[in-house]
């Protein structure tokens, strides 16, 4: 998919673990893993909002559009 999820990078910058982020956002670790591995087909605005709040970042820091090769 041309939308790339850079959650790993932002989490590493903030030194936040998956468990901690999942707890702060209020989603399961399994769902967070789906998001991190790029398997997710959609993300709710409420989830995106909670992630941005927890990581103190913008949606653009997490989601990136890349042209298909």
């Amino acid at each position: 998919m041309p939308i790339v999820v850079n959650l790993d990078v932002v989490m590493a910058k903030r030194k936040m673990s998956s468990g901690e982020l999942a707890e702060k956002v209020g989603i399961s670790q399994a769902n967070l893993s789906i998001l991190k591995t790029g398997k997710a087909k959609a993300i709710r605005f409420s989830t995106l909002e909670a992630i941005c709040k927890a990581l103190d970042c913008q949606p653009g820091d997490i989601l990136e559009y890349r042209e298909r090769e």
Partner: protein
């Protein structure tokens, strides 16, 4: 009290009854055919082997169709409804109906009333095909919901 579980059990029972009827038809086919020809129309004399060929050939899609229906119900019972395997099952059921229609169409050559069986089977195949398309869309939607975070 009537519920979904009992409804599924009833559907399974009907499938099992149809399976028994199918096997009984195949086993007694020579006798049934002989009786039918002797007590119906004189011009059917000599077509016994064609009737047997139709019954034995038709047994294959009919048996596979009933088996597929049973597998489909077992998956629904296990609460696996909107999955790709069920779409594939429905597709096979549909093609089995069309196969039955094809066999009946060929059989029209020696006994015209087979045309009604052919039309009914083709119509059934068409209905199942439309249901398959609907379920395929439902599977895609379910997939999207499952992967929405």
């Amino acid at each position: 009290m009537w519920n979904d579980k009992k409804s599924l059990q009833l559907s399974k029972l009907f499938i099992l009854i149809f399976m028994v009827v199918l096997v009984a038809t195949v086993v007694t086919a020579p006798w049934i055919t002989k009786r039918f020809i002797n007590f119906s129309r004189a011009e059917l004399m000599g077509t016994e082997r064609y009737f047997l060929a139709t019954i034995y050939t038709g047994f294959l899609p009919a048996a596979y169709l009933l088996y597929s229906l049973l597998r489909l119900l077992q998956r629904i019972e296990a609460e696996q409804v909107f999955i790709a395997e069920n779409v594939e099952r429905l597709r096979r059921i549909s093609w089995n109906c069309f196969a039955g229609a094809g066999i009946s169409i060929i059989s029209v050559a020696y006994y015209f009333p087979w045309i009604f069986v052919a039309i009914a089977a083709a119509f059934m195949g068409l209905i199942v095909r439309v249901v398959k398309n609907v379920v395929a869309q439902a599977v895609a939607l379910q997939d999207e919901i499952d992967y929405t975070v």
